[in-house]
Symmetry: C2
Subunit: 329 residues, 2 copies
DNA sequence: CCTTGTCATGTGATCGCGAACAAATACACT
DNA sequence: AGTGTATTTGTTCGCGATCACATGACAAGG
C-alpha cells in the first residue's frame, strides 16, 4: 500500500480511502491512485484489514454428509448467497455428529475468525451440541427440526410427511407403511410424526415402522422385509434413496408398482423422476434452504435481531407414477 | 495475548512460544501460561498471525456443479485431507465455467489470502482458464483431463471407458453405442476416446454418438432415440445418471435389460447398485481424488517441486446385472 | 477582512502476533 | 572462582491495513 501511495504521490491513507470508496477524494487523485494500483498489480492484504477492522468477511459452514445431495445442495446455496452478500465461506465437514465433533468444528471455525456459522445439522445430537456451543459468533442451523434452540431454517417435514401419507390414503389405501430414517435424526422423527398424524386423523391402523439409514441399500433391505407382507399396499419412505432400494426389492419380489404397492419418497432428488417407475415424492428446495439460512445469518450479523428466527419452508408434493389407487380386494 | 502474559506473569513472547510449541520454555512456566490461557479462554487471533507469518493456513477450492455427487465427494475428500494437514478450506463455487468466472473465483480466493488452490474443473474451457490464471499461488486441478497444463489428479477416464466397452465386446456384442456427456468436458472427450479405441481395436463398427448433459433427463431422451434402433444391443453411457434415464427409456420402450440391451455406466454413484436392474459401471474414487489433489497441493506448498505433478488413478469396473451376453440373431 | 464550515489530504497510533536480537540465568568444566 | 555454552525469558520492531485526529485550502456569510 505504501508503494501505491508513493507511485500515486499521495499518502497511504488516501489509497485506503480510494479502496474503501470513502468520500472526499478528488476524482483526479482517485484516478492516479487507481492507476498506481493497476500498475503495481496491488492487492489489499485481507489479514491486515481483518486485524484492524475485526471483521474477516468470512462465514463458516459446518456440514455433515456433505457428499449427499441434500447437504451438498444446501452448501451450494449457502456459498452462492454468501458471495453475493460479500462473504467468503469456509467449510468444516464432520465425520460424526457427536457433541464433541460439532464443538470442535465450531471452535476451529471460530479460531479462524469467522463472523458467523451455519450448521447443516440434521441430527438431534447435533442440535443439542449446537445449543451447547458457547459461541460468541452468531449461529444458524439449517435443515434441523422445528424445535431447535438456535435460529434455523428448515422444511416443514411434518407437513410434508402428512401430505404424502394423506395422498396415499386418499387413493383408498387402508393404511400406509413407513420406512423411517435412522434414529437420532430430526427428519426421521418429524417425518414419522407427520405420517402417524395422517394415519390417526384418518382412523387408519398404524403399522410397525421399518428403519433404514437413508441409503438405497437400507431401503432395499426394508423392502425385502415389507414385501413378505402381502397386506401392504402403500409405503411412505422417508427419503428418495431408500425408496429406490424399496422399488428394487419390490421388483425382485415380483410386486408391481403402483399396481400392487404404491410408494412415496421424500426429497425429490433429480433422479427421482427416472426411477422405475418415476417416484412420487415430496420436494425439498435444498438450495433455497441454504440461501435462506445465510440470509438469516447475515441479518443476525447486521443486528436485525431475532425477529424471524425460525423459518419453516413448506415442501411441495410431486406426483409421479409410483402411486396409484388401492386395489380393492 | 497481553492479558494472558500478565496473568501468567510472563512476557507475551513466552506466551507465543508456548502457543507455537517452541523449545526452551521451562515446563512450569509453560503450565502457568496454559493455565492463564484456560482461565481467560484465550484464542489466538488468526488474522494477526497471518499478517506476520504471511501464511493464512487456508486453501481455496474452486468447484463447479458442487451439488453433484462427483464434485461434492471430491470437495469432501479435499476438506478432510486439508484438515488433517492443518489447513482451512474456503470454497468458491462457479455457476459457469467460462474463463472469466474461473479467473474471478481464483482472484477472490487469492484476495482472501489462500496459500493454494484446488480447482475441480472438469471442463476444457476451465482448464485453459486455469492455465491462463496468472496466479502467484500454487494451483492443482482435479478431475480434469490428462493433458492439463497445471498439476492435476484425475481418474484415467480413457482406460475406464476402454474397459467398459471391451467388457461389452467380450460379451459378444457386435458393437457398442455411446451416450456421451456434454461437449466441452474433458471427461466427455476422454471417455469417448476410450470407447472409440476399444471399438477400433476390436474392429467393430463405430456408431454415431448421442450426447447428453450428464442428467438423467438427458439420458432418458437419448434412450428414447436409441430405443428406436432395434439393432442396438449394448450401450456405454458416460455417467450413471444418464444411464438411469436410459434404463427408464428402454423400459418404457419395452426393451429388457440386459436381455435386449446391455448398459454400462460410469461413476458408480451409491445408488447405481439399486437401479432396475443394478448397473454395471466404472467406479471413480471421488473422495480419494480429492484427498490426493490436496496432498499434491500441500507438497507444492512445501516446495517438494513438481516431481509427480500428474497423477492418474485407475478406475475399477463394477459388474452388476445391467450387462449380459449378446443375443445371437 | 475575519470567522466558520466543508472538502481534501496527511500524520501517528493501533490491531495481535511472531522474528530478531538482547539479556538474564543455569549448568558444565577447568 | 572463572570462563564458556546452553537454556530461558524479555524487549523492540514491523507485518499492512484502518481509525481518530490534525492540517491546509477554499468558499460562503457576516
Amino acid at each position: 500500500m505504501a508503494d501505491v501511495a508513493r507511485v500515486a504521490g499521495v499518502s497511504h491513507q488516501t489509497v485506503s480511502r480510494v479502496l474503501n470508496g470513502a468520500p472526499h477524494v478528488r476524482p483526479d487523485t482517485r484516478e492516479r491512485v487507481l492507476a498506481a494500483i493497476r500498475e503495481l498489480d496491488y492487492r489489499p492484504n485481507s489479514a491486515a484489514r481483518a486485524l484492524v477492522t475485526r471483521r474477516s468477511q468470512t462465514l463458516g459452514v459446518v456440514s455433515f454428509g456433505s457428499a449427499l445431495y441434500g447437504p451438498a445442495s444446501m452448501l451450494d446455496g449457502i456459498e452462492q448467497a454468501a458471495r453475493s452478500a460479500g462473504y467468503f465461506v469456509s467449510v468444516a465437514s464432520l465425520r460424526s455428529l457427536d457433541s464433541r465433533s460439532v464443538q470442535e468444528a465450531v471452535d476451529r471455525l471460530r479460531d479462524q475468525g469467522v463472523e458467523g456459522i451455519v450448521v447443516i445439522a440434521p441430527q438431534i445430537s447435533a442440535v443439542s451440541a449446537v445449543a451447547k456451543v458457547s459461541s460468541a459468533v452468531p449461529l444458524v442451523a439449517v435443515g434441523s427440526g422445528s424445535r431447535s434452540p438456535v435460529p434455523m431454517v428448515a422444511v416443514d417435514n411434518e407437513a410434508g410427511a402428512l401430505a404424502a401419507t394423506r395422498h396415499l390414503l386418499d387413493l383408498d389405501h387402508e393404511t400406509v407403511h413407513h420406512v423411517a430414517g435412522p434414529s437420532g435424526w430430526l427428519e426421521t422423527k418429524t417425518r414419522e410424526e407427520g405420517w402417524r398424524k395422517a394415519l390417526e386423523a384418518a382412523g387408519a391402523r398404524v403399522p410397525q415402522v421399518q428403519s433404514g439409514d437413508w441409503s438405497a441399500r437400507s431401503g432395499y433391505e426394508a423392502g425385502l422385509r415389507i414385501a413378505e407382507d402381502r397386506e401392504v399396499t402403500a409405503v411412505f419412505c422417508a427419503n428418495d434413496h431408500m425408496a429406490l432400494g424399496l422399488l428394487r426389492a419390490f421388483h425382485e419380489a415380483g410386486r408391481s408398482i403402483p399396481g400392487d404397492i404404491s410408494v412415496v419418497g421424500f426429497d425429490d432428488i433429480p433422479e427421482a423422476a427416472y426411477f422405475a417407475p418415476p417416484l412420487t415424492t415430496v420436494r425439498q428446495p435444498f438450495g433455497e434452504l441454504g440461501r435462506r439460512a445465510l440470509e438469516l445469518l447475515v441479518e443476525e450479523l447486521a443486528g436485525v435481531g431475532h425477529a424471524r428466527s425460525h423459518m419453516l419452508v413448506s415442501p411441495e408434493m410431486v406426483l409421479r407414477r409410483s402411486t396409484g389407487p388401492a386395489v380393492r380386494r
